[in-house]
């Protein structure tokens, strides 16, 4: 046997509750983060990801409480991200019980924080989260792709997908790896919330640009979407939210289905 593909439920947390938006907007309540974490862990999730989207001065305190409470009930790894800007933010997450810290906007604003985190906590703790979106204003300096006769490049977006950076995703993942990232959490803004399937073109190209693990995120609406992304790219993990939150498919059900379709999973 060998390393399995990881199935990762994601919990977007705002003010202590799990929420899920469509294309980063229209937020619905989906439950208590600690209860859901325990449920997913018991059902056989391989890992969990929490993204705290609370934007307030209280954030550090709410994250600390969340991390402690989650770490007390589960015995699988979990990553926490959202608003991480400094070593202190990361320490607050890691020392309270999380295994990895996700850093997104903070890494773009201050790339050397990736290296500082790697040196202090080890590479495996550092997950660089990237929100990617197609930009149809192509120029020569970017890695250009074609789909349905249209040319575009993948642009890194920050502040929860609200602001473009002009940075090419393919270049950024290579830089992030060199700086000390241990893993890439790659979300397609174009696909997020659509339930239309993962962004295979994006995922495949990112996976082939780095030698660290990559988690695909955004667009999963059914177990077949996971099969597609695992078969069409060498991605290491698939993250999803809505298919697990609303009981359409339990974690166990999804994993059994993947196994039946020859995807190596832990069951």
């Amino acid at each position: 046997m060998t390393l399995t593909k990881r199935i990762i439920p994601c919990l977007d947390v705002k003010n202590g509750r799990v929420v899920k938006g469509l294309n980063f907007e229209s937020i619905k309540d989906a439950g208590d983060p600690v209860e859901l974490a325990e449920k997913y862990s018991n059902e056989g999730a391989d890992e969990l990801v929490f993204l705290d989207i609370t934007a307030s001065d209280e954030q550090r305190k709410t994250i600390k409480d969340l991390v402690r409470n989650v770490a007390s009930v589960i015995d699988i790894p979990f990553t926490v991200g959202g608003g991480v800007k400094s070593l202190e933010d990361a320490r607050n997450i890691l020392l309270n019980g999380a295994d990895k810290v996700g850093i997104n906007t903070g890494a773009i604003k201050n790339p050397k924080v990736i290296t500082e985190l790697m040196e202090l906590f080890g590479r495996q703790c550092v997950v660089v989260a990237i929100d990617a979106k197609r930009n149809y204003n192509v120029d020569d300096s970017k890695n250009v792709f074609t789909e349905n006769d249209k040319q575009f490049w993948f642009e890194v977006f920050i502040y929860g997908g609200k602001e473009g950076t002009g940075i090419d995703v393919i270049q950024w993942v290579k830089d992030a790896e060199k700086l000390g990232a241990g893993e890439i959490l790659l979300t397609s803004i174009d696909k997020d919330g659509t339930k239309d399937g993962y962004d295979i073109l994006l995922t495949k190209n990112v996976v082939d640009s780095v030698s660290i693990p990559v988690i695909a995120s955004g667009g999963c609406g059914k177990p077949d979407d996971m099969i597609d992304v695992f078969k069409e790219s060498n991605v290491d993990a698939a993250l999803a939210a809505s298919i697990f939150h609303y009981e359409t498919h339990g974690v166990q059900g999804v994993k059994s289905y993947l196994k039946d379709n020859k995807i190596p999973v832990r069951l």
Partner: protein, 201 residues
């Protein structure tokens, strides 16, 4: 009730390990040096951090040396903690604890590094930590380096990641796991219980 200590290098998640040990019935103290008299039945070197800073924190903050402090007490090294049992590591320049002969080398570049995720254990021979653990059990790995003991006799389980990665080592009172038992669900729990059983002896 068995009382154990976790050595905190000051750079990582030890909350999960502490919590897991408490759940299986241990009283756990977190220590940052070896200055106080050793009243514990076991010591754990946790698995988060970087080789040199972690070695420095073990060596520099205490008046007494590691080997002297632990004596015959069971010691469990997890991931980085197990790597520190050896003489040296390609991750750093500092000397290791040197309680098991061998070194720590980087994983082959033909594979994705870190080796991150759930992989199976191939049990090579019976060991105290592996008691009650079935062959092929899933455990959670996150590491970029692997140990290369001078003698393969110390390896009780391996995992396949392109090459055979030593997953569990045992020598005398030193027990090491390359994976994280505190993150390996029910299988990990069995191993922590096994370690505590040794501590009680």
């Amino acid at each position: 009730m068995v009382s154990v200590a976790i050595f905190d290098y000051g750079a990582g998640n030890i909350f999960s390990l502490k919590n897991s040990l408490e759940k299986v019935g241990a009283t756990v103290d977190v220590i940052t040096n070896f200055d106080d008299t050793n009243t514990y039945s076991g010591l754990l070197l946790p698995g988060v951090g970087n080789f040199d800073p972690a070695m420095n924190s073990i060596r520099d903050f205490s008046k007494i040396q590691f080997k002297e402090y632990v004596g015959n007490m069971p010691v469990m090294g997890i991931c980085l903690g197990m790597e520190m049992f050896f003489e040296k590591s390609e991750e750093g320049k500092e000397k290791g604890l040197n309680v098991i002969d061998g070194e720590v080398i980087i994983l082959p570049s033909s594979m994705k590094v870190p080796h991150m995720g759930w992989n199976n254990l191939e049990i090579k021979k019976p060991g105290k930590i592996l008691e009650g653990v079935e062959n092929d059990s899933w455990v959670y790995f996150v590491h970029s380096y692997r140990v290369k003991p001078e003698s393969n006799d110390v390896i009780t389980a391996e995992s396949d990641y392109g090459i055979k990665v030593p997953a569990v080592v045992e020598q005398d009172n030193f027990y090491g796991t390359q994976f994280h038992p505190e993150k390996s669900s029910t299988v990990g729990k069995i191993m922590l219980e096994n370690f505590l059983k040794e501590c009680k002896k």
